[in-house]
Amino acid sequence: MSTNTSHINPLENEAIYIMREVAAQFEKPVLLFSGGKDSITLVRLAQKAFWPAKIPFPLMHIDTGHNFPETIEFRDRLAKELGVELIVRNVQDSIDAGKVKEESGRYASRNSLQTTTLLDAIEEFKFDACIGGARRDEEKARAKERIFSVRDDFGQWDEKSQRPELFDMLNGDIELGQNVRVFPISNWTELDVWSYIQKEEIEIPSIYFAHKRKTFVRDGMIWSAEDDIVFRDAEEIVEERLVRFRTVGDMSCTAAVLSDAVSIDKVVSEIRDSSISERGARIDDKRSEAAMEKRKQQGYF
């Protein structure tokens, strides 16, 4: 065993520093937990930041109702093991209350509807900081995001008047009604996250590994045909394929990739050799060049 801490990866040191700043600077922080690999990584980092104490803030999941059952089961078990509070708020409730309208048609997705449910939950619990797993390498508008990103009363991101972030000083001062979105793994790439999961032997939901699934192909991408959540034309043929998921968003906007990677080692080497980015498998980003920037201005994560 090494006797000094110099082997610890600089990205982990930075993320832990950020977690501690959140706990110290805010009164009511929350960690937004989706059950995906990025938020699972965040949970591990939070655990490390405060050990031997428990994570000093709750986890919150905005459930679209279209999540993979494997992720939901995983989420509940993790929260229990950690002994932290898990808050769940449902997009279905926002739909039932008439606050948002369900999309219809071929590309219907509840992904963008999450925003309303999230903003309502922030208001309900008076959260002043929401920790999220977004990374700058995911998407070109994200590459501009600060680590502490201030949002106004409407959750909106004003990309033109972002606070400068110098050295590693994080300014979390806000006015009443404002809140801050915090991104501790801003500087991580997809490969960094996967290698971290590998090295730390972190458990992740089974859908990240190759499995047999009923699927169909549309626009060159592979969609899950289980659970009837993705709208499918009669002529779109369902076939069983060996696939895995690279991101686990909402089922309606997350495509699978053909893969025989059944272990974390195989997943890591697959990502390393892959020539397509993970966002390439997100239909919501393909809608337009500026899709992400627009969603963010409206308060999306």
Binding site: M1, S2, T3, N4, T5, S6, H7, I8, P10, L11, N13, E14, I16, Y17, R20, E21, A23, A24, A49, W51, P52, A53, K54, R136, D137, E139, K140, A141, A143, K144, E159, K160, P164, E165, L166, F167, D168, M169, N171, D173, I174, E175, S186, N187, T189, L191, S195, Y196, V268, S269, R272, S274, S275, I276, S277, R279, G280, E289, A290, E293
Partner: protein, 426 residues
């Protein structure tokens, strides 16, 4: 260019680089070119660049599209806000801050440089050294960025002329003689970001140049040598008190180690109380270590029950920083509301926040090396000046030249909580 192999997947070395240079000198294009030539662009991102370049009617690939992510930036063809770009080679991982060249956004350039160990200053070979070059060199020197590459770009538009290159080099060398921080390493490289000459790959169009390409130079940099080392400073971020059965009396001080290392058994002093104790344990997560290395986030316990809270600082005995309620610093102002003498601000120094008053604006420093301006009563956006602050309680600081972390601070506007300036203590 080989990609990272599996042994090096966990990042050990990350070199942070910021670009600088005037509008349209080709910063974004250069970064896009580096990504392309190191095969760091995924096929979907490359397709998007090809598609948009075609739509715009270009007969070449516009690599700036790889980094200019905002709609306004793509429309205007300029960079407005800093973008962070990531790539790795077999040797190292890199984070490049693509900063805007427009004078109006100089503050974003300061931001980019504040976290970097290296800078690439671009010069358009057709224009040579201009006012923005002076300013960007000044800022990189002020922020004590150790390595500066001066990339003389668009060599394709000056027939790859050696004379042009030499003339620019000699103009720039004149600037170097005026600099304050003399230990800065400066390397000149003639490039064409658009064509890819001397960016990642060597070229045969400039046979008169035998030096390294930009990437070759970056690959050779020794990270330890380009990082600023000082004495150990441990600002306490958070006190960990689990109050569980197993850790009933545990009181851990969580923070990041700056400047140098701390060891179990070291005699330390807690500031501001100046109480002495010894380091009992060093934890990173649930593992104990003998040494907390520079830049690592750890939790420290002390032999004695002393009162330490957030904003306090743990330092080694006999190695104390300055403890004072006033200091003079060079500041870079970043807000459209003017800084005025007598105004109150919050100063954030590391994780410590104090109320401060501007005691005196001594003079403005023209960042183009044309001297200073005295008798100024306010500072506007992008101004650089020497200012004295008075604080409502003492802070524990070092001079910026001795300690990049413990010698810097940000200024926060008490009205709207915005970060409105950055300072470097003298």
């Amino acid at each position: 260019m080989p990609r990272a192999n599996s042994q090096q997947l966990i990042k050990m070395e990350v070199l942070k680089i910021a670009t600088a240079g005037s509008v349209d000198d080709g910063k974004s294009t250069l970064i896009g070119r580096i990504l392309y030539d190191t095969k760091s662009l995924t096929s979907d991102k490359l397709e998007a660049i090809e598609k948009t370049s075609k739509q715009k009617g270009y007969d070449y690939l516009d690599f700036s599209l790889a980094t200019d992510g905002l709609v306004a930036e793509r429309e205007q063809g300029i960079t407005i806000d800093v973008a962070h770009i990531y790539f790795s080679t077999a040797k190292k991982s890199y984070i490049i801050a693509d900063t805007p060249g427009h004078v109006e956004y100089t503050r974003n350039m300061v931001t980019g440089a504040s976290t970097s160990q290296a800078a690439i200053i671009l010069i358009d070979a057709r224009k040579g050294v201009i006012e923005q070059t002076n300013r960007h060199f000044f800022i990189n020197n002020l922020l004590r960025v150790k390595e500066v590459i001066v990339a003389i770009n668009k060599m394709d538009l000056v027939d790859y002329s050696e004379e042009t290159y030499n003339a620019i080099k000699s103009d720039f060398s004149e600037l170097m003689s005026k600099r304050d921080y003399e230990n800065q390493n400066i390397t000149f490289i003639p490039v064409s970001a658009l064509k890819g000459d001397n960016v990642v790959n060597k070229t045969d169009v400039m046979p008169w140049y035998n030096g390294e390409t930009i990437l070759e130079h970056l690959e050779r940099l020794d990270l330890a040598a380009v990082s600023n080392v000082g004495t150990p400073r441990f600002p306490v971020q958070y006190v960990i008190r689990p109050k569980t059965e197993d850790f009933h009396d545990f009181r851990g001080f969580a923070g990041k180690v700056y400047g140098g290392e701390l060891n179990v058994g070291d005699t330390v002093v807690a500031l501001p109380s100046q109480t002495k104790s010894k380091i009992k344990e060093i934890y990173a997560y649930d593992k104990k270590y003998q040494t907390a290395s520079r830049r690592s986030s750890v939790t420290i316990t002390l032999e004695d029950e002393i009162n330490v809270s957030r904003g306090d600082m743990i330092v080694k005995e006999g190695d104390l920083p300055t403890i004072d309620k006033q200091f003079t610093a060079t500041i870079a102002w970043m807000d459209s509301d003017q800084l005025k003498a007598g105004t109150k601000y919050v100063i954030q120094h590391g994780v410590n926040k104090v109320l401060a008053k501007v005691d005196k604006i001594h003079h403005k420093i023209n960042p183009d090396y044309s001297g200073i301006e005295e008798n100024v009563d306010g500072l506007g956006m992008n101004d650089i000046a020497k200012v004295t602050f008075k604080l409502n309680k003492p802070i524990f600081f070092d001079a910026f030249k001795n300690h990049r972390t413990n010698g810097s601070f940000i200024v926060i506007d008490t009205k709207n909580n915005n970060t409105v300036g950055a300072g470097f203590i003298q």
